[in-house]
């Protein structure tokens, strides 16, 4: 089925759990929308909120961040720090005017091919109904999202980490 709007979804995933889960969906020949582009990280702990902003800037309509279930982190606590960081980051995203529904956090383990399919499908559908993210692209020229602590919001977000 063709749609008027094919959103671009960027997924930031960890190598050990979600990337492997997506592999499993592949080896099991499950099907899901082709809108998602997967970027691999060692751990969700490595994912800097700045990357998410950057992805939105670069035309992503939705972003998925997915890693190991709490307690299963390959690096023991990386995903725990990630979660705390993202909690602070949500505020920041709201501030710059991105609807939080465009950002999804999930846990997908290496054994959860089916869950990966579900998460990706649901997010794609959701973003499809939301339409393209226009507002934010205008910010593209502004390069101050480089992670420097210049705005009060970023500072606060970082202090909350």
């Amino acid at each position: 089925m063709k749609h008027d709007f094919e959103p671009k979804i960027v997924a930031f995933v960890c190598t050990w759990c979600t990337y492997a889960g997506a592999d499993l969906a592949g080896t099991s020949r499950m099907q899901y929308p082709a809108n998602v582009r997967v970027l691999k990280f060692p751990c969700t702990g490595r994912i800097d909120p700045v990357f998410i902003l950057k992805a939105f800037q670069k035309g992503a309509d939705g972003v998925l961040v997915s890693g190991c279930h709490p307690g299963d982190c390959h690096y023991m606590a990386g995903n725990f720090h990630a979660r705390r960081r993202f909690a602070a980051f949500r505020k920041l995203l709201e501030f710059v005017g991105v609807d939080l529904a465009r950002l999804e956090f999930s846990w997908v383990s290496a054994a959860e091919g089916g869950k990966w399919v579900e998460v990706v499908t649901d997010l794609t559908e959701r973003i499809r109904t939301m339409g393209p993210l226009a507002e934010f692209k205008e910010l593209e020229t502004e390069e101050h999202w480089s992670g420097r602590l210049e705005t009060a919001e970023l500072k606060e977000a970082y202090n909350n980490i």
Binding site: A20, C43, G45, K58, Y75, Y158
Partner: protein
């Protein structure tokens, strides 16, 4: 301008069925920086790999993208091929267009578009890739074992037998730990001393084992393969080299009435003592707190009677630095105390059992000493208050364990079994006596364990009562036990001569302090945490440190010994190589930018971040920065995402690489 080669695999038809591989090749060939883009039926086959190698040479490629299956499948294959062609392997990346594309999408057009995107951002990434050299760390092939209980003894012997040097550090004057205190051991009832002492002697005589008793770990630095351990050898006041172990000093010491902790204070010992006759080493130590000479300067008998002149009152603590490559922690456990709650303890005491003030209420370890042939009563079971033979003995299980109101919710795992053992030992020694056991569950899941418990019930006629005890109180010379039998649904009252409590196994007091020195993690009960409950049960998350025995959680001897041997095997695996090679995915600090806030140190799950002082030529401190120890770093990247000034970078996943990918989306 870079020269990247792109190789697109058909995977037979697995990819080409849904992805138009030729188109992918055409499009990617036009990308800036791409020197060549080819498609091929089976990239992983020999001809496929040769194709890649040839192209690297012919086109002088400085980067390679293989668009094929998941990197989890063949990244190693292609990186090796790149290395063979003279390219740094870390300049070779895979684009996953099979598992993440051709297999999960049906629409050929969409799948092809997606495959192009995937190749595109991977190309951008490779352009920012840096050549990385695998990290090699030299290994000091000596091991440190902390704790000389059965766990430490077993681990030390295994490693030493494999031909490696072992430093065994024991806090007490003798090795042996708790097992040396036991009488007979379940499930076979062999005498603990009989199976233990030969091993202790082996330790003392082993040419590869350096034994430090009466010693503590002072400081640990370094990382896997390269630890520096400072050991404090406490002053023994006896020269170990001169002492012959004749024991004359102990016999003559006038200060004889000191509670013998090894015998759970049931007996006494002199001020110069070995904790028990079979001690290893058999060298006494002067208990300076109780020695008359140290208190008043008056005595000195032992010095006079010692033939070889081994007594040395002036001995000082010594600090010795030992370089080791691996550490086995085997510091064991303590028993929960039912007395009033000390201010620093997280655990409540047992007011309802009289806070330990009723003399004929003892714990299981004290019972072991009573039953031990070498114990204070010579193996006769006599109760502490009046030395009479107890005819009615009540055992109570789960005291402190499984009692969240006291602060502990776990099961101590060994007490069901040792209580069954105690009822048997009791029956064997006092035939006309009766043992009663108050219990909730009999947890006996081990080989021959349930049979053992059933034997206690069926053959040795222990009366098991399914229920707990509300209160104990002294009545005349009896201890009244107010319990209940929940199966019958009535209260049970027994006037006991002796009550034995199966108190919880808890972590060593101060276990957290040792963990902090070692940089290993521990749970909320201070038991040391393994890296993975099922798959890495003897490794710590901190590389190069391994766990053995009850320091990790309650364990009986079979489990302890298995884990000790497993830990030894892990040490030997490490020592099998001369150098430690690992993926160079580690974090590095840009010392110029680093503000020294140490936010990275706070979040690093591996404790890999250290403080480093930057000094000028005159040695003046300029600033403190973070330093990531590459031997320890696990490569998670949490530090980089956390660093407010972006001063720490994870090789292989730099901001530059990732931003390049996002830009290319």
């Amino acid at each position: 301008m870079s020269r990247i080669g792109v190789f697109i695999c058909h995977c037979g038809e697995n990819i080409s069925r849904t992805v138009d591989v030729e188109r992918v090749a055409q499009v990617t060939a036009r990308l800036p920086g791409v020197a060549i883009a080819l498609d091929y039926k089976y990239m992983c086959s020999d001809p496929g790999q040769n194709l890649l190698k040839k192209a690297v040479a012919e086109h002088k490629l400085d980067g390679v993208v293989v668009a094929a299956c998941s990197p989890r499948m063949h990244e190693k294959t292609f990186r090796n091929a790149a290395r063979a062609a003279g390219l740094n392997p870390f300049l070779c990346e895979m684009a996953n267009i099979r598992e993440h594309c051709s297999w999960v999408h049906e629409d050929r057009e969409e799948a092809t578009a997606k495959a192009i995107d995937i190749v595109k951002f991977t190309v951008s990434r490779v352009k920012k890739d840096r050549a990385l050299a695998p990290i090699t760390v030299p290994i000091t092939k000596r091991a440190l074992v902390i704790g000389g209980g059965i766990a430490g003894i077993q681990a030390a012997l295994d490693i030493a037998d494999a031909g490696h040097q072992v430093v065994l550090v024991e806090r007490e004057p003798s090795i042996g730990g708790h097992m040396a205190q036991l009488s007979e051991t379940f499930p076979t009832l062999d005498c603990s001393q009989c199976i233990m002492t030969p091993k202790m002697v082996d330790v003392a005589n082993h040419p590869n084992i350096k034994l430090y008793t009466w010693s503590e770990i002072e400081e640990v630095s370094g990382y896997i393969g390269n630890f520096q351990v400072t050991v404090r050898r406490k002053a023994r006041s006896v020269d170990e080299d001169k002492c012959t172990g004749c024991g004359v000093c102990m016999a003559k010491c006038p200060q004889k009435k000191i509670d013998n902790a090894f015998d759970r204070n049931l007996g006494t010992r002199p001020a110069i003592y070995v904790p028990f006759p079979q001690a290893v080493p058999n060298t006494p130590v002067i208990d300076r707190d109780n020695c008359t000479r140290f208190k008043t300067g008056k005595c000195g008998v032992c010095e006079k009677v010692c033939g070889p002149g081994a007594i040395d009152y002036g001995q000082q603590d010594q600090l010795i630095v030992e370089p080791v490559g691996a550490i086995v922690v085997a510091s064991g456990f303590d028993l929960y105390n039912i007395g009033p709650k000390p201010a620093d303890s997280p655990y409540e005491g047992y007011g309802e059992f009289g806070y330990g003030a009723i003399p004929d209420v003892i714990d299981g370890l004290t019972f072991e000493r009573l039953a031990s042939a070498s114990g204070p009563t010579g193996g006769k079971i006599l109760r502490p208050s009046d030395g009479k033979e107890p005819k009615q003995v009540v055992f109570i299980q789960c005291v402190g364990s499984r009692a969240r109101e006291k602060g502990i919710s776990y099961c101590s795992k060994i007490c069901c079994m040792y209580t069954a053992k105690h009822t048997m030992l009791y029956k064997h020694k006092i035939h006309d006596g009766q043992a009663y056991v108050f219990f909730m569950d009999a947890r006996t899941p081990g080989k021959n364990y349930d049979e053992f418990w059933r034997r206690a019930v069926e053959e040795e006629e222990a009366v098991y009562i399914r229920g707990m005890v509300s209160r104990l109180y002294q009545k005349g010379d009896k201890v009244v036990v107010m319990g209940s039998d929940v199966l019958v649904g009535v209260q049970v009252e027994i006037e006991a001569d002796l009550v034995v409590l199966a108190t919880a196994v808890q972590a060593r007091t101060g276990a957290d302090l040792l963990a902090q020195k070692l940089g290993i993690s521990y749970d909320r009960y201070n038991f040391y945490s393994e890296a993975h409950a099922k798959l890495k049960p003897v490794e710590c998350a901190t590389a190069g440190i391994y766990l053995a025995g009850a320091c990790q959680g309650p364990k009986d001897i079979p489990d302890t010994v298995s884990q000790a041997s497993a830990a030894a095997a892990k040490v030997m695996t490490l020592f099998a190589k001369d150098q430690l090679e690992r993926e160079p995915i580690v974090a590095r600090v840009n010392e110029r930018n680093c503000a020294g806030c140490l936010a990275c140190k706070k979040v690093c799950p591996y404790g890999a971040v250290e403080e480093k002082e930057i000094r000028d030529r005159n040695g003046n401190l300029i600033k403190t920065v973070a330093y990531v120890n590459p031997g320890v770093c696990g490569g998670c990247g949490t530090c980089q995402a956390t660093c407010p000034s972006k001063s720490v970078e994870l090789d292989g996943y730099t901001d530059e690489q990732i931003m390049a990918m996002i830009e290319a989306l």
